[in-house]
Every structure is written in structure tokens, then in C-alpha cells.
Amino acid sequence: MSGKIITVTSGKGGVGKTTVTANLAVALASMGHSVAAIDTDIGLRNLDIVMGLESRIVYDLVDVAEGRCHLSQALIKDRQLPSLCLLPASQTSNKTAISPHELGLIAAELRASNDFVFIDSPAGIEQGFQNAISTADQIIIVTTPEVTAVRSADRVIGLIETSGKKPGQLIINRIRPAMVRQGDMLNTYDVIEFLAIDLLGVIPDDEAIIIAANKGKPMSGDPTSLAGHAFRNIAQRLTGETVPFLPILEERAGLWSRVRAAARRGLNSLSHPRKMGSRS
């Protein structure tokens, strides 16, 4: 088996990287895929808390990198979802405790036995960010629909381009449909047009997410919530399925394909091409 390494990153901190990582990992594992999640937010770990696995940590990422234990000893298996495991971050080291090479080796080893390997990255554009993207097969950029977060996302997308990676895909988190309708919040279309990259999905702002995170039970399994639905849709898109966008969140979806095609050409024009007269 050879899976995919997916790094979840952002420009601004606190926009939902850890939330997205935990929920997508759970959603994919619930669909029957084997999934490993690596928390690279060394010194500020919290993927374990959101996934409800904190109390079972014995060894961590830095222990594995420095050879104090085997990878298998540090992995924590989820009790409900046996095909899901977590490699927690160290809480006592700092962000430079691991090199891109070391992380690359660990991620590659996990890829050999999992369908998906998620890497949750630390905030910022320093070493920790570079580590997290260097080994990725695919990059997910998370932003909220705020001008500051979108600007930072733009910066990060530029850095990803510069590093020679394929452009990432975007998740817009914490959309509030009511505010968008009143014109008080950037809408999905504004954000996509500005950033000119592919949209992977949009997640509503939902207090159930906060409650779930506090309880350590990612809510992508919840069939009644819109946010859970959004996460499951994104998980399916990651497996290569085409899933229509949710209408309440992702209005004007029809326009995107054209926006993206235009962006790829380096243009952002949305108008229909005019036929040039052909010489006869």
C-alpha cells in the first residue's frame, strides 16, 4: 500500500488546521480507509486533545525522530476507529527539534501502511511550516473568510509555489451564511477569486465543533450537523470522488470552474470569451 501525505497548513494561526485535520482523519477512517495523523505543532500540541487521545500518549514525534522508540510504539490507535492512529507532537521540545528529513522518513514509513497520512502544521511560516510542507504529496490551506486570514493564506500559497510544490487546495472555515447574505463577510466566491486556487470545501461556523473539540470527539460522524456533512464531503473529495458543493455555504458554485480555469491561465476574468473573427 502506498497512501497520500496530506499537509494541512494556513497563514494565520487559529483558523482551524487542527480541527480540519482531526475531522477529516475521522471521516476517512469511518469510511473504512486507514489513516495516520501526525501532529507537528511541537511545543503546542493539541491534535491529541481534539481527537480525545491525550491520556494515552507515551512517546511522541521527537522521540521517534531521535530514536528513543520505534514508530509503532509512539502511535496511538483510536478505540472506536481501529484504522485511525495518531503520532502526537512533543510538548517539551521546540519547533526546530525535528528536521524536514526526519519528518519525511517518518511520514514515508506511515504512508507505506496507510491510505492517508495527515500532517497538522504549526502556525507561522518558519521552520515548522517548511517541515510540514516539504514532505507533502498534497497541501490543504485553511483560511477563514476574514481579510487578514486570506492575505496570510495568499502569502503561504506564494511560499508553496516558490518551494516547487503543486499549488494547494483551499478549505474556507467558519463561514456564517447569514453574515455573507448581509454582505458583512467575504463570501466563498470573493475568497476563491482572490486566491486563485482550487476549492476543496467550505465549513460553516458551528459551536458544535467547539463542543466536540472540548470533548475530544471530532464531529464529522454526526449525521445531523451541517459541519459534519461538510467534512464528510471533503473527505470524499480527497478520495477522488466528485461531490457537489453544499448550496447554503457555497453559493455561486457554478462560477468556480470558470474562475479556476481562468486562474490557471493567470487570468481572473470571468466574462465569456469573445470569438475573434477568423480570416477567410
Binding site: 492575505r151 502569502r155 506564494g158 467575504l186 470573493d190 477569486e193 493567470g266 487570468l267 481572473n268
Partner: protein, 229 residues
């Protein structure tokens, strides 16, 4: 392999490049390689080049200026013992360094070199990205907030301008900036600076925007809509 004829050193005033013996074309190729190997070291720097007693034609010297320009490097001064090279430098208005003075070249004001070539950038420029070229720059894509474009000549943008744009960066106030949607955070032409009055930066599309051309008129930067005839 023969010893390299391209010597690069860091000095207090910026990098210096000494070009030794051999065919000019292959020396330039090596300069190009070396610049690509350490882009961060050279970007935005003013280099001082020493060509010894080599006789350079205007065209040969112009090639060097262009290659440096492609790597966002300015030729701050040329040091030469040759009459021929000196007059080529004068034609291109390149400052001649006095012998032994590389380390104390005073403040650099390089007159516009005669660069007729342009640079085509075919992507969206994002926050933190900088494109610099001694000639004209054409961008097919947007210039997002936080991105910067600096041209010795004109800047033409087939897209939106939201970042910082500088035309005529070497002092030519006859340069122009035009774009499909011109709302830069800051616009400079020659020595003049204009700041966008509208707070539109980072917002969504505004379909009412029209193509505009900005230029200097009576000591001020003005923008004029483009009217198809």
C-alpha cells in the same frame, strides 16, 4: 577543469564580480549560473563588476546588464582599464569605478540603462513576492496586496493591481503603468508616489472597474481610463 574565471566576493557595498580571461559569452553563462545558485544572496543587490583590461563593445556590456537584471541585480559600477570598455559604459550610462575604489563607491544613482527588453510574468503575484527588472514588466495575472513589482520601464498588467507597483524605478518619470483594474496600495513612477484613495484592497471583485493608464502629468501621477475608440 580550468580554474573559474568568474570571481564573486561580498564587500561592504555589496557583491563584486571579477571577470577574468576567456570568451565573453561563456563568462556570461557562468555568471548566470552562479546568480541562479544563490538567488537570495544577489536579489536587490548592487554589484560592482571588474572586467580588467578586456575590451567590451556596448552590446557585450548590455548583455551583462540584462543578465544581472534578470536576477534583480543592478550593475552599480564598472571597473575597467580599457578605453573601449569605458566608452561602452559611458554609452550605457553606467558608472565607472575608480581603480581601487570598489569598497567605497558612494551612494548609487544608476541612470537608466538602455534596456529595451521586457520581462513577462504569467502568474498571479502573491503577498511577499517581488519581481524586479531593469526594463519593462508585463504581468498576465493579478498583483495581490503585499506583492511588489519594480520596473526600470513601464508596467503593464492584464489583471488587477492591488499591491505595490513602481515604474521608471531608475528615475524615468516618462514611464507608465496600465492595468485592467488599477487600485494599487502604492504606485510610484520615477520619484513620485501615489497612494490609492479607496480601501478596496483584499475585497472581492468590483465589476465596475475599467482599464486605466497611470502616468506623470505636471509633476503628479494621474490615472486615466482607457477608452476604446
Amino acid at each position: 577543469m580550468a580554474e573559474s574565471q568568474v570571481m564573486i566576493k561580498g564587500t561592504r557595498k555589496g557583491p563584486s564580480i571579477t571577470l577574468g580571461e576567456g570568451e565573453w559569452k561563456s563568462l556570461l553563462a557562468e555568471v548566470q549560473d552562479r546568480l541562479s545558485q544563490a538567488p537570495a544572496f544577489f536579489r536587490n543587490s548592487n554589484v560592482h563588476v571588474n572586467v580588467g583590461n578586456r575590451n567590451l563593445s556596448t552590446d557585450e556590456l548590455r548583455w551583462l546588464v540584462n543578465i544581472l537584471g534578470q536576477h534583480s541585480v543592478r550593475l552599480a559600477s564598472l571597473r575597467t582599464d580599457s578605453e573601449v570598455s569605458s566608452s561602452a559604459a559611458e554609452t550605457l550610462q553606467i558608472r565607472l569605478a575608480l581603480p581601487e575604489s570598489i569598497s567605497d563607491v558612494p551612494g548609487v544613482r544608476v541612470p537608466t540603462p538602455d534596456v529595451s527588453e521586457g520581462l513577462l510574468v504569467r502568474r498571479t503575484l502573491r503577498s511577499g513576492q517581488l519581481v524586479q527588472h531593469p526594463g519593462h514588466i508585463v504581468v498576465v495575472g493579478d498583483i495581490n496586496p503585499g506583492a511588489e513589482v519594480i520596473a526600470g520601464g513601464d508596467v503593464i498588467v492584464w489583471g488587477r493591481v492591488r499591491g505595490t507597483v513602481q515604474a521608471g524605478a531608475l528615475g524615468d518619470s516618462g514611464s507608465i503603468v496600465c492595468a485592467l483594474d488599477l487600485a494599487p496600495a502604492q504606485l510610484r513612477i520615477g520619484k513620485l508616489i501615489a497612494i490609492s484613495p479607496e480601501e478596496r484592497v483584499g475585497r472581492g471583485a468590483d465589476t465596475s472597474r475599467k482599464p486605466e493608464v497611470a502616468f506623470v502629468q505636471d509633476g503628479q501621477i494621474v490615472a486615466e481610463p482607457w477608452h476604446p475608440r
